[in-house]
Amino acid sequence: MHSATPRSQFKALGTFALLLLLTVFVGCNRTRKYPLQGEVVAKNAATNEITVKHGDIPGFMPAMAMPYHVKDPAVVQELQPGDKIAAEGFVSKDGNDYWLEDVRITNDTGRSQAKTPVAPHMLIPGEPVPNVTLVNQDGRTIHLSDFAGQALLVTFIYTRCPMPNFCPRLSSQFAKIHDELKKNPGDYAKTHLLTISFDPKYDNPAVLRKYGLAYLDDDASGFAHWDFASTNPTDLAHLAQAFGLQYEEEGDQIAHNMSIVLIAPDGTVARFWTTDWTWTELMESMQQALHSRGQK
């Protein structure tokens, strides 16, 4: 459904170029980033480009349809004209290059669940988290929505991880957060920790319980504040895409990155961390989330 004629496209490009020139002239000489929502009107798999029709982006550009480069060919392959998307739009310093990252299909075609692009697409802070079902160390079914009203800190591990700087360190630091929050009953009641395994085949409830007790110094009452859970492979992949987790089986080990997510009391993403964090920073962010936006 290609609604933009070459002439109107040229006109749009021209308008855009003029606006950009003005912006650059005014002194905004750096890569610009803006949230974009629109509809795919055309795509060119050969050049990895999609043409998107979008509304006004206040202070930046009026409603128009224009082509954007997309890095991941799998994304271009997945998209179809008519798809509604949300993405991060980027314009290079010199205004010559414009591209999209974090492209997400937002219309309900069913395809976005069945065949999402391979590269993880993280949620933007403020977006609601998916409500997946998990099974915790007690064999009980839990949902992310169970923690509405609390500041929830989520991370991912696998119990067989032999790298001391990865999962063991991550769980050790979560244990410190748990201990510290326990000192303040008010904070303790309004916060929760959730450690999710990306090795559900091995990390069943019994294994997770044993693992959790090791980090809770054998105090099972700690599970009321810190759940260790796993989920089915489909929901796990869904969570991984939402939270920027990457994991891949390599023989008997699983290669993975680090992903820590703070979910605000209103169930939206507040903040992400990967490798650059301290346990005090994570804990303070949880406490701040209780007293800022998103609290019910």
Binding site: T159, R160, C161, P162, M163, P164, N165, P168, R169, S171, S172, Q173, A175, Y202, A214, Y215, D252, Q253
Partner: protein, 113 residues
């Protein structure tokens, strides 16, 4: 005519290294075990990690005491169990090691002074 001086010198040179470090000569199994230890165990058990909840204990002279750091008896069976099932914050290695690997590792741990 046997040149005794040369013979004795040769023998000394051959056996002297063993006298200096009695554990240097490892059997094939123990050598395999050392390779496994260096590749899978040393990272935690040789270096202190201040951020870890529990410090991995040193495994040197493990079998010289009656008990393991956990308090369990210092037997091959107990050490093998720990390697396979993990313990506390130590991960399980049942997926990573075959039965022969565990045997070789335990053999090496007997020699780790």
């Amino acid at each position: 005519m046997v040149r005794w001086g040369e013979l004795i010198t040769s023998l000394l040179l051959l056996f002297l290294p063993m006298a200096c470090s009695p554990s240097a000569k490892l059997s094939n199994a123990e050598t395999q075990g050392q390779w496994l230890y260096d590749g899978h165990c040393a990272e935690c058990h040789e270096n202190p990690h201040p951020e870890l909840r529990k410090q991995p204990p040193s495994l040197h002279r493990l079998f010289l005491a009656k008990s393991l750091p956990s308090g369990a008896p210092a037997t091959d069976e107990q050490v093998s169990k720990t390697i396979i099932a993990g313990r506390g914050t130590m991960p399980a290695f049942d997926r990573r090691f075959r039965e022969i690997d565990v045997k070789e590792l335990v053999a090496y741990l007997h020699k780790l002074k």
